[in-house]
Subunit: 149 residues, 4 copies
């Protein structure tokens, strides 16, 4: 649950607009479901295209949906004219991902004018049971951005 | 340049076989170009589907091709019956990725029977000039694996 | 709050014994205050010897007390004959550390027979107010250990 | 070997001055031996005070000397009035540290006005043989700093 104040009250519609340019997210089929100030959640149905050779969800899928949700969580707190890019992401893979749906939650831990510290979790749902499969942290760098004005 | 001895001399053909199950890699369009004992390289042409809202290569693309090349670099040193899965990956994004082709090189830094330490680099080629855009490290966990027997 | 079951019921006294060999911890003056199955807490009074050139707590101090508490949190769940060593630690420094006391809490996120995933937090107390200054994650490798038998 | 240009030609003497405030470094007994633009090396004799319960160098010692050398490598490229603090450090422990001397080398990978990306290596010398025991990466945040003017 987010406890942060957005500086731009239109943060939700601004994020919705940015999603149209998230081409790689669309290639995967991932959707953003909830946008709060400092916390963004998304999910998708797992399909064969998301897997690696052992039949589990690809580590790149997990890293990508973490990057997206943590990035937009940081972006939700930006004032007009500022965007964010990932400086560092670190992902721990706790369990192999095997299931029907995959959910990612990105949260701001500490906002800032130059960098934003975020954390993220990825869950798999299988037969109605949700399981944590990855935990992550990312440092997001704040940038000047014309398209975010 | 790799300085490691493979334990399974068929490592290259074994990796080529595993690639057929790398569904997410195929969705992206990434190809493995060079397989050495302890070092694996791949590349792809950058297209709109790989980008994010600022027009740069998506951080998830970069993380994915690092995960693939570092994972197969570790796998190239495994004996028969052993595979690897990523335990932790950490990626530093040095520059925004803007160009024609993207290249990833994954290298083993220290092999082991339980875990393998690897490092990786991602380069962008634009108008014939190659530039380093990301540096990464990953800890790969060794697993028992029937399909690798 | 820990939700794990210890495999060796003497885990607390076993950890107390191991502390005598933690020479670098004693050089710093850090004390372990609470030992639960899967969660270990420690603290110390901040003194000049713990600082860097800007007058803040040294990043190495923060990393060390995270390594100690996360390592012993993992160790608390080990059966007889097994120990742990750090494979990877990643620390995010959220705020400069300036205060009277420093507290570290290490927690197991996911136990395992080959590796244990842990997380950690460091707090500073200043004039009775506690503030989170660092968040960390570590992968601990399980080792065979004679002294832990 | 460094390939960067310092913005303040007095970077070496400025770093030598800053070392007096590195209280925790002095507690450990670590010395900076070589200061280049973008690369800083240091070392110390290993003593019992640096060890953990298995008789190996403490992970906190390794993390601390990486933090110091990577931090000063970044600082060596700062103009007057700017300093650096660690935002994130990630350390991979490749081998247990057992030997006579320990050496850390911190290098800038990519300088910048807001953040500096660095990498580091730690070596142990035992009976005249040098061995790599840890590899690290750190993101350093650039700060305004009165004492660096």
């Amino acid at each position: 649950m987010s406890t942060f104040q957005a500086k731009d009250q239109n943060f939700e519609s601004k994020i919705r607009e940015r999603l149209s340019g998230q081409h790689f997210m669309h290639l995967m089929g991932f959707d953003i479901t909830t946008i709060l100030a400092g916390e963004v959640t998304g999910e998708m149905k797992l399909e064969q295209k998301h897997l690696q050779q052992y039949g589990f969800v690809h580590g790149g899928v997990t890293a990508t949906i973490l990057d997206i949700t943590m990035g937009f969580a940081a972006y939700s707190l930006m004032p007009l004219g500022k965007g964010v890019v990932t400086a560092n992401i670190s992902v721990d893979y706790l369990h192999p991902g095997d299931g029907d749906r995959i959910i990612a939650v990105g949260s701001v831990e500490k906002p800032g004018g130059k960098m934003v510290f975020t954390s993220g979790k990825v869950y798999i749902e299988k037969n109605g049971v949700r399981k944590l499969i990855a935990s992550a942290r990312a440092v997001m760098a704040v940038i000047e951005s014309k398209i975010d004005s």
